[in-house]
């Protein structure tokens, strides 16, 4: 399937979803529009626009028929990075800022784009986490989670 067509269909589906969900809200009248008025209006317009986009894609006018994934050889790395970010978010409050940040940076330096030497990765992660702790917690007084280390 052509990428243009796929993306238009996804947005069309999203638009239909917006419309269905907006219908559950009070729409009010034109004299006094309610909370559902604008979302429904926008949903209908988005549905219309995605249909136009779909028709344009069907007409095949787009010369660039090649898949946007053609150049992507590093998708595994991308998934690793995304997973590490999610894991960081979920573990942050348990592990605490310093430990979680150290582990995240270590992982990204070592398994991110190009593996750095272990010694370098460990030292770099430690310095960067401590530096951020100093700037955000001590200087800017951001409330970073202490976690199991307790500070």
């Amino acid at each position: 399937m052509k990428p243009e067509r796929t993306s238009s269909l996804v947005w069309l589906g999203f638009a239909v979803l917006i419309c269905i969900e907006s219908l559950r809200l009070p729409r009010g009248s034109l004299r006094e529009p309610g909370p559902g008025f604008l979302p429904l209006l926008v949903g209908v317009i988005l549905a219309g626009l995605s249909t136009i986009s779909l028709v344009q894609a069907q007409a095949g006018s787009s010369a660039d028929g090649k898949s946007p994934w053609a150049a992507s050889k590093r998708w595994k790395k991308l998934l690793w990075v995304l997973f590490s970010l999610l894991a960081y978010a979920l573990a942050l409050e348990t592990l605490g800022f310093l430990l979680a940040t150290f582990l995240l940076l270590l992982f990204l330096f070592r398994f991110g784009m190009e593996p750095q030497r272990w010694s370098w990765a460990i030292a770099g992660s430690a310095i960067a986490s401590l530096f951020c702790y100093a700037v955000f917690e001590l200087w800017l007084r951001t409330q970073l989670p202490g976690g199991i280390l307790g500070f």
């Binding site: 006094e32 790395k77 990075v81 995304l82 970073l144």
Partner: protein, 499 residues
């Protein structure tokens, strides 16, 4: 108050030590992110937004503003030396700037872009001082229909100037408006699309969305493409442009300033479009248009002047009407709202120290940037050499901390990651983020103006056409919307990437 007493107020505010310090910090950070590819002013300003909650609103806006125009200076360094634009408004600078560097004229190229930016920035500040107060007085007449029409025009201009398909840009604007409606409705108090989520009750946060769409997604793309950069090893000894260089470029700088300034004021315009437009203008004006693209100094001077003038002109609609002209101004609007400052035509009267202080900071900031960029250029070139595999974990970390620290809410971090993936896919499928963000920020204002207008008119849509100002604005929007449909006019100007 006349011009000079305003000027005096402006300087008395900026020369307070803490304001001066924050202006300097903003300029340094701005230059830094301008230099670093993959981290633009948008992501940086949203990143630092939470840290400004603890300082006065005047200092906050001074610092964040400094980042924005500072990035315009820094962006040119990367464009000229590496042929990679440090941020989107410097894309055009690559064309002639890099060629100049290859011919051994990196010094004059960097010099003229710093001086051009300085001249443009200073002139733009004077222009703001002259234009903003009368415009704010005029805007006092605006009611909900005029505001609705103005925001509608802003969104239309942005989608019209989008680089890809206009249909796609309009779709993104719709998605942005929808995202802006999530949360508790301010008029009726009814929750919309929250699904009992505590995090969503206050609406989707601006910072997670921006950091996801502009920060995380950019890193993901860079990891995938992993471009090897090569820094041009040029001698940077003679930074001062020669008399000949000045003669060639002084009028280009002037033209760039005016083109940039007026495109910056226009809602939906901004530094990126300004730089492209002024390059085109210079090519038209030049007696030797064939020199452009092979190292013409005018091709560096004009767009660099334009992007600076535009980034400062963009403050006008924000500070006089309360309407952000572009994404960065949208974040600044968010910052002002967080500080409980009512943004609108009364801002100049109610908060004179804020308005004139910010303007004063622009004069001083431009001087600081000139010092930062001409004698200290060597430091920035060194920073350019940090390899991306070492840089990207730090950028990701800043995004994570930035979003978490807004509300200490893990779910906002998850929202950011989600929008990072969405933004990555949008870039892959050539959907632009800028219309989405602008629509997202304007959405609550737009909805209120629309609903209030309809209440005023008893449900009659003709209210938008019966009042002269709103009629004019709506007609202009409709003209832009239907222009691409007219035969023979199909080709829209390609504004490049608007992010």
């Amino acid at each position: 108050m006349d011009f000079f007493s305003n000027l005096q107020l402006a300087f008395s505010v900026i020369f307070q030590p803490d304001n001066l310090l924050f202006c300097f910090i903003g300029c340094v950070i701005g230059t830094l992110v301008g230099v670093l590819p993959g981290l633009g002013p948008v992501a940086t300003i949203s990143l630092l937004l939470p840290s400004t909650f603890h300082i006065s609103p005047v200092s906050a806006i001074i610092m964040l503003g400094g980042i924005y125009y500072g990035a315009m200076y820094g962006g040119s360094i990367t464009s000229i030396l590496v042929n990679i634009p440090g941020e989107a408004a410097s894309v055009v600078t690559c064309l002639d700037g890099y060629q100049m560097a290859r011919q051994g004229r990196a010094g004059p190229a960097l010099g003229i872009s710093a001086f051009g930016s300085f001249i443009a920035g200073t002139l733009a500040t004077v222009l703001i001082m002259m234009i903003a107060p009368p415009l704010a007085r005029f805007a006092l007449e605006f009611g909900p229909p005029e505001y609705f029409a103005l925001m509608f025009l802003g969104l239309t201009v942005l989608t019209y100037l989008a680089s890809g398909s206009m249909v796609k840009a309009l779709m993104m604007a719709c998605v942005g408006i929808f995202l802006g409606t999530v949360g508790t409705d301010t008029i009726s108090g009814i929750e919309r699309f929250t699904y009992r989520s505590y995090t969503l009750m206050d609406g989707i946060g601006l910072i997670p969305v921006i950091m996801g769409l502009f920060g995380i997604s950019e890193v993901l793309l860079n990891i995938e493409e992993a471009s090897k950069q090569e820094i041009y090893q040029a001698s940077l000894s003679n930074l001062l442009p020669t008399l000949r260089d000045w003669k060639d470029s002084i009028f280009s700088i002037m033209r760039g300033t005016f083109v940039g300034f007026f495109l910056g004021i226009l809602p939906g315009g901004g530094a990126v479009i300004a730089s492209f437009a002024s390059y085109a203008v210079e090519k038209k004006f030049s007696k030797h248009p064939e020199r452009f693209g092979s190292g013409a100094i005018e091709g560096v001077a004009a767009p660099e002047a334009a992007n600076n003038a535009a980034s400062q002109g963009a403050f006008i609609p924000l500070l006089t009407l309360g309407i952000p002209a572009n994404v960065v101004m949208a974040i600044l609007l968010g910052a002002l709202l967080i500080h409980n400052i009512k943004v609108g035509p009364l801002l100049i009267k109610d908060h004179p120290t804020l308005f004139w202080g910010v303007l004063g900071s622009m004069y001083v900031g431009n001087v600081m940037l000139l010092v930062l960029n001409v004698p200290l250029i060597g430091i920035w070139v060194k920073i350019l050499k940090i390899p991306y595999p070492i840089l990207f974990p730090l950028i990701l970390l800043f995004c994570l901390i930035g979003v978490y620290s807004v509300n200490n809410n893990i779910y906002e971090v998850v929202i950011m990651i989600l929008f990072g993936v969405v933004g990555y896919l949008m870039k892959k499928f050539a959907y632009e983020g800028a219309p989405l963000i602008l629509a997202f920020v304007l959405s609550p204002l737009l909805e209120n103006a629309l609903r209030q207008s309809l209440i005023m008119s008893n449900g009659d849509f003709s209210i938008f056409f019966s009042r002269p100002i709103s009629l004019l604005l709506i007609l202009a929007s409709l003209f832009l919307l239907f222009l691409p449909l007219l035969p023979g006019l199909r080709k829209r100007p390609q504004g490049g990437n608007l992010d």
